[in-house]
């Protein structure tokens, strides 16, 4: 967490350069969260899988990429592997690790009721954090993994690096968006949505629902693992306490609820809106009177909790509601209105289908 906010220090110099630095860092962070929220959208938005341990998958991806790309441990550190592989291999490894973790957690729990999985995932996150911070000869315990290699290190020098980082992260977000959209706006996604809305119906329609839930859970876990790997190389060093539930699970959940579960564009929009609120708090801290300036980070947590409550009560579909049409192979059912119109409709509480031209 402190690492993530590091680019924000420059704000104390209210200069154009400071503002640029902050913006670039902000966009990079939002892109990483966008990837996580898209993964959650596959699990919760489409399939109704309640994952309260998002940070566990994120963390496993981050550590896996660190272990694959760092040099072998020396006298002062104790961690396994250290294979010095290229970063892209580290990212792929992070995705695989996230997927494998999802498989391991899903096997015993996906047959059970929704809430059992939710509880299991909370437990997994706690266990992984404890193991990472206390197991000998595994991942350097509480000292964390430091000095992760930077992207394209030989090609760019220091001051341009932030741009490369932002560009690469945005491209990754775009690719993940395209993948998630391609597979969810399809007959496969239609089965997921059927399972979410009425499992008995999906079963009566001949769908092996447990297998589908597993596929969605593993896909989501893999994407969370990828996001964790991207994050690890962005911040350069990771340690167990950085992966708190608040930061890695609760914040992305808020983003999904605000953006609109079941809508991939909503997922990214939610990351942007909530992210601006969360990571933008330091921007106003300076201008606040003394005591409030000190408390602002506490108030931020309070406000974000309130935001969740407000959305669940009054805007349960989020900023962008899901479309009735699932499969992109079919003609649009509702003429897609411009984003602003759609937002206006949302806030007036008019249901999306009222705009139907049919």
């Amino acid at each position: 967490m402190p690492d993530l906010l590091a680019p924000l220090d420059t704000l104390y110099l209210v200069t154009l350069a400071g503002m640029t630095n902050w913006s670039v860092g902000f966009v990079t962070t939002i892109a990483i969260f966008g990837i996580v929220v898209l993964a959650m959208n596959v699990q919760w938005g489409y399939t109704g899988i309640l994952n309260f341990g998002v940070v566990a998958f994120f963390m496993v991806g981050a550590y896996t990429s660190a272990l694959l790309t760092l040099p072998p441990a020396t006298g002062f550190s104790d961690y396994i592997l250290g294979l010095e592989l290229p970063i892209l291999v580290g990212w792929a490894g992070g995705a695989v690790a996230g997927g494998v973790l999802a498989l391991l957690v899903g096997l015993p729990t996906l047959r059970l009721r929704l809430d059992f999985l939710a509880i299991a995932t909370i437990g997994v996150a706690a266990i992984l954090r404890t193991v990472a911070s206390s197991a000998d000869n595994l991942v350097n315990r509480g000292r964390g993994m430091n000095g992760l290699p930077r992207l394209f290190n030989d090609l760019v020098d220091g001051s341009d690096y932030k741009w490369v980082l932002m560009g690469t992260t945005l491209i990754t977000l775009a690719l993940v968006y395209l993948l998630v959209r391609a597979v969810t706006a399809s007959p496969w996604g239609r089965v997921l949505r059927a399972i979410r809305d009425n499992e008995a119906t999906a079963q009566a329609a001949g769908k092996p629902t447990v297998r589908y839930r597993m596929q969605a859970f593993v896909l989501g876990g893999a994407i969370m693992g990828l996001a964790g790997a991207v994050y690890a190389h962005r911040v350069g060093s990771i340690s167990p306490e950085a992966f708190s539930d608040l930061f890695g699970t609760f914040l992305p959940w808020t983003m999904l609820i605000v953006g609109g579960a079941g809508n991939n564009r909503g997922a990214v929009l939610g990351a942007l809106v909530v992210g601006f609120f969360w990571f933008g708090t330091p921007l106003i801290q300076e201008d606040l009177p003394g005591s409030l300036g000190n408390q602002v980070f506490v108030w931020r947590q309070f406000a974000i909790g309130l935001l969740v409550v407000v959305f669940i009560l009054w805007l349960p579909k989020g900023l962008l509601a899901e479309e009735p049409r699932v499969s992109r192979f079919l003609p649009r059912t509702v003429a897609g209105p411009p984003l602003l119109q759609r937002l206006r409709d949302r806030f007036r509480g008019r249901p999306a289908e009222d705009r139907s031209g049919t």
Binding site: W188, A200, A202, S327
Partner: protein, 257 residues
């Protein structure tokens, strides 16, 4: 008589101490419309759920086309050609009527994750065929004008029709209809009877229907199976069964004796 398409043999299902189905035995002749009737709580729907795999029976055997399907999960039962509807329609409200029906299509490559990723054109081609087929079925039950509406906009009667359309999309050999005319007005009930008869004629399908309304059942079915307290009381042609004094007593109350 030809070999029955479905044989239910001494089927048992208990919920705690309650024997919902308690040794029910009956068979369904190929190509027939068989009615499963009985008073509330006789175990008809539980029986259905055991056949369709939604519940695992505690005892007995279900044989479909000569093969044991006892305790198979619902999608395996569906694979073999047994498709069921629900008494209370279980449509997916947020999805369009069209996609509610398309969901039930068999052998859709677009429902496989890797196919969607690697060969989306196959998914697209099959999707188009499925769409045409689904629209045809919707036309048959006169819901085609609502195809692009979210299913939650449908009326109660239209939901019953959608339930039927969805089952037809599964290309059933044996269609299990759970009270298709319960809770609908007499006009629509009559239409449902006509629709079900037409389906049976045109599609070479066997139908097992849970009935409630005696008029409807008598007009619709070739054979009736009467259940009370989890057992089969009597099995036979409608006029014979409905004149059976035991049936009248169990089903209608002793004052009709």
């Amino acid at each position: 008589m030809a070999e029955p398409i479905l044989v239910v043999d001494r089927l048992e299902k208990r919920f705690g101490g309650n024997r919902a189905v308690d040794g029910a035995t009956f068979s369904v002749a190929r190509g027939s419309i068989t009615g499963l009737i009985g008073p509330n709580g006789a175990g008809k729907t539980t029986c259905f759920n055991c056949i369709a795999g939604a519940l695992r029976p505690d005892g007995g055997r279900v044989t479909f086309e000569g093969q044991d399907i006892t305790g198979l999960p619902p999608h395996r039962v569906f694979e073999r050609g047994v498709v069921r509807t629900f008494q209370i329609p279980q449509e997916l409200g947020g999805m369009t009527v069209l996609e509610n029906v398309m969901l039930v299509a068999r052998d859709h490559p677009g429902e496989h994750f890797l196919e969607v990723c690697l060969r989306p054109w196959r998914a697209r081609a099959r999707e188009e065929a499925v769409r045409v087929q689904a629209l045809e079925i919707l036309r048959q039950v006169a819901l085609d004008h609502l195809a692009l509406q979210p299913a939650r906009n449908l009326s109660g009667g239209q939901r019953k029709l959608l339930e039927l359309a969805r089952a037809l999309m599964g290309e059933p050999k044996l269609l299990l209809l759970d009270e298709p005319s319960a809770g609908v007005n007499p006009t629509l009930a009559q239409r449902l009877v006509d629709d079900i008869r037409a389906i049976q004629r045109e599609r070479d399908v066997t139908i097992l229907v849970i009935g409630h309304d005696m008029d409807v059942v008598a007009r619709l079915c070739d054979t009736l199976v009467v259940m009370t307290s989890g057992r089969v009381l009597v099995e036979g042609p409608p006029d014979e069964v409905l004149n059976n004094t035991e049936v009248q007593e169990a089903y209608l109350g002793s004052q009709y004796r």
